[in-house]
Symmetry: C2
Subunit: 463 residues, 2 copies
């Protein structure tokens, strides 16, 4: 008799009818009367559990009946098809073996716990319905991303985590060192002698894999990264984490509209994938986390995403008659309130805003003919605001070098990045997707701490 997974009982019910099955899992609930009892068993393979019926015929009936919830057991029993009942089947146990008992002080008792409390037991929270659903969807969305790009022949690049350069030219970065911080070697100027450090120079945690991705795009044409990135920003908000995962596709011979098409296709693909692969989880979110979630996602899945220039968007916001907390003025960056207004009220669907003023965007973005804007785009989605930021990259070596100098950066630091333009540079474009934002968008969860297995935020690196 092979071990069965509960997922398979649900997905291939027919093949189990009147069969003997063996399951193992954890007790989610247990109740008993004198002569029989019920266990809701969850084995982690599926969002739902299965009901185990047991009675006095078990030698160890009394011991089983007393098990605290979250104890792990092995169950041998008969699969009983109950198509007319609320649950389509149950297991009538012929044997139950205790694998590991739990303790009565198990923190996840039946009562509802706040997300804040659950963060303090991040090692146990994946056992709750909400976090089981969040982290399964996170896993499926990761896979959907890989599948989407790999099916189209994109090359996955592991861009470096430890880096000597600062992509954005502006990040607040974490330092990486192997020096003894209680006993730092000093140089003649009395500063820390970084030549004695592991890499013989200052190193930091990456804020983006884009520059690496560009190098690879100019060899493989279509590439993507998917890895952790870091910001040492002291933002104690529901949207910022110090460590988060980013996806950064980069395409040679591609202009701005090409990556907008790709981003739209990708978002739709991921939505379709999780709706298909995790219907139980998505229904749960729709019922208990965000009413209307499925409608919002289905809308995004079928709509044509809007496209509007920054200049037009500013006009729309000005003419809206809406009162915003932050000013709306050509040249100022859009705030989340503006972004959400545009996609939620004006377009009622995801919308790409394009061609931002060059002053508010990064140095590597391609200067438009108007000399005032760059070929950049942000994808704004209802409920979130900015989900994706991308641009055509400045492929003209002289203009790029000029920009680097203008911003007080050093050409020598970007020697290899400039060389990509010197040796057969092409038009190329790419975007970055903050993976946690995507998970929040897919699940309706409103705090980034609740979509990361063990979140790292200001003052918090537990577990």
């Amino acid at each position: 008799m092979k071990q069965a997974l509960i997922k398979d009982l649900y997905r291939n019910t027919e093949s189990y009818i009147d069969q003997k099955v063996q399951l193992s899992g954890w007790i989610r609930t247990i109740r008993d009367s004198k002569t029989f009892g019920f266990i809701e068993l969850n084995d982690g393979s599926f969002f739902k559990g299965v009901q185990i019926v047991f009675d006095e015929q078990l030698e160890n009936f009394k011991d089983i009946a007393k098990l605290p919830i979250s104890s792990s057991i092995k169950v041998v029993g008969d699969f009983i098809h109950t198509p007319k009942a609320k649950q389509p089947f149950e297991i009538k146990a012929t044997d139950i073996f205790v694998e590991g008992t739990s303790n009565v002080d198990y923190p996840l008792q039946k009562k509802k716990h706040s997300f804040e409390y659950l963060r303090t037991i991040a090692h146990l929270r994946p056992r709750t319905n909400t976090f089981s659903a969040v982290f399964r969807v996170r896993s499926l969305a990761s896979y959907a991303i890989h599948k989407f790009f790999q099916d189209q022949g994109f090359v996955y690049v592991h861009s470096p985590i430890i880096t000597g350069s600062d992509t954005e030219g502006a990040g607040e970065m974490f330092r990486v060192t192997a020096l003894d911080m209680d006993n730092l070697p000093k140089n003649e100027e009395g500063k820390t002698d970084l030549s004695k450090d592991f890499f013989n120079k200052e190193t930091n945690l990456t804020v983006s894999g884009q520059l690496s991705a560009e190098a690879f795009a100019l060899a493989f044409r279509n590439v993507y990264t998917f890895g952790p990135t870091f910001r040492a920003e002291n933002s104690n908000t529901a949207r910022h984490a110090a460590e988060f995962w980013m996806i950064e596709p980069e395409l040679a011979f591609a202009e701005l509209p090409d990556i907008m098409d790709l981003a739209e296709e990708m978002v739709k693909y991921v939505i379709g994938f999780v709706l298909e692969q995790a219907p139980e989880e998505m229904n749960f979110f729709n019922s208990f986390i965000e009413k209307g979630l499925l409608e919002r996602l289905n809308n995004a899945h079928t709509a044509n995403f809007g496209r509007v220039t920054y200049t037009e968007a500013i006009e729309m916001l000005k003419e809206s008659g809406e009162t915003f907390a932050y000013p709306v003025e050509w040249g100022l960056d859009l705030q989340t309130e503006h972004e959400r207004y545009l996609c939620e009220k004006v377009f009622k669907r995801p919308v790409f805003v394009t061609d931002y003023p060059k002053e508010i965007k990064a140095f590597y973005m391609r200067l438009n003919e108007d000399n005032k804007t760059v070929a950049a785009t942000d994808l704004l989605v209802p409920g979130i605001g900015e989900l994706i930021g991308g641009s055509q990259r400045e492929e003209r070596e002289d203009i790029l070098a000029g920009k680097i100098n203008e911003l007080g950066m050093t050409e020598e630091d970007y020697w290899w990045y400039l060389e990509l333009r010197k040796y057969g540079g092409t038009k190329h474009s790419g975007y970055g997707l903050g993976f946690e934002r995507l998970i929040m968008y897919l699940t309706g969860m409103s705090n980034i701490r609740d979509v990361i297995p063990f979140p790292r935020t200001t003052g918090n690196a537990e577990f």
Copy 2:
């Protein structure tokens, strides 16, 4: 006329016969006589390029003929089927547009370059045959890993990179800090005041995601991690990097033989996947990097992996009559020379060695009945030595706590890890696969620096 990718010309040749096509890519080689010329164009989508024939009918014939290699161009032309020629087709250009010229000092001229030199131009080396093949296989192998686990319902866990704990209890770790290293705050004892740091305590870069994976396995049953890990080890060898990627599956309700079965299945799956998806690259490695590579991989793909206990392996080594540089004695760890002897000479295929002395293995490995060995396994493969290390985990809370104390570690640091045993712990097992080792195994590349896009090693964090 749609843009075509060279990969598609090769894979769907029939559908292009006598068609007009448009390609874009980089010039790998170019030669011309007075009236016509040949370009080998590579567009990054495929290992091989395509031959472009151009002649005086082009208005810009002379400009094109003068282009330095690595210049990027767009080509419009007729697809000419040449089934009897060495190349099955070529493109007769009707138009060639220059997208970006290259420079005559382009470092990748036709002559063969050493791998050492190519490391100094890591931004350009993916344009060579060898590194194009390596990094495409790396991408495909990554995807094969995800596909293997996802197809079986495993949940992918992003374990944290910044960590306050040290999994192995022994790692040489990189520190992560947001403090100004030239101006560190001091506490009353004159030490660095870590309470002022970003996380209000000491944090490091992770050496393993295993402990996190265990927490998730006890919720989802079958999980895996795939992410970067770090060692601040001063080992300047061909096998060590400071930053490398690891895959760590973890299975609840699983004992040692279960994960050996899984590891064997996984290795075979990945080999099969890359052989099928990248035949051109794999043939290249077989011809130019390691003669006999394909035979070695095909052998591993079809053989039953051997299984032998550490105690038996020690006997085999002692009886071998071989002279080893390192001593062979029960209680001493196996060195690479021993590992390779076992799989290359004795078993002639991959082999699992099991049940190592407890003293040479990590604290979390499950103590066997004999009280002397632990339920650990290493998978040894020809050409590499250790590829995978795994174990059944100590699920008995008292024995685990005893071990932590015995080693002078602190129970408080492992409170949540111990709680996993307290609240419905189960037998569970997992293993770690060093991803770069796998790529070396698959490609025959002998230096870890040559299988990582931008490698980080002692004294080197360029790009």
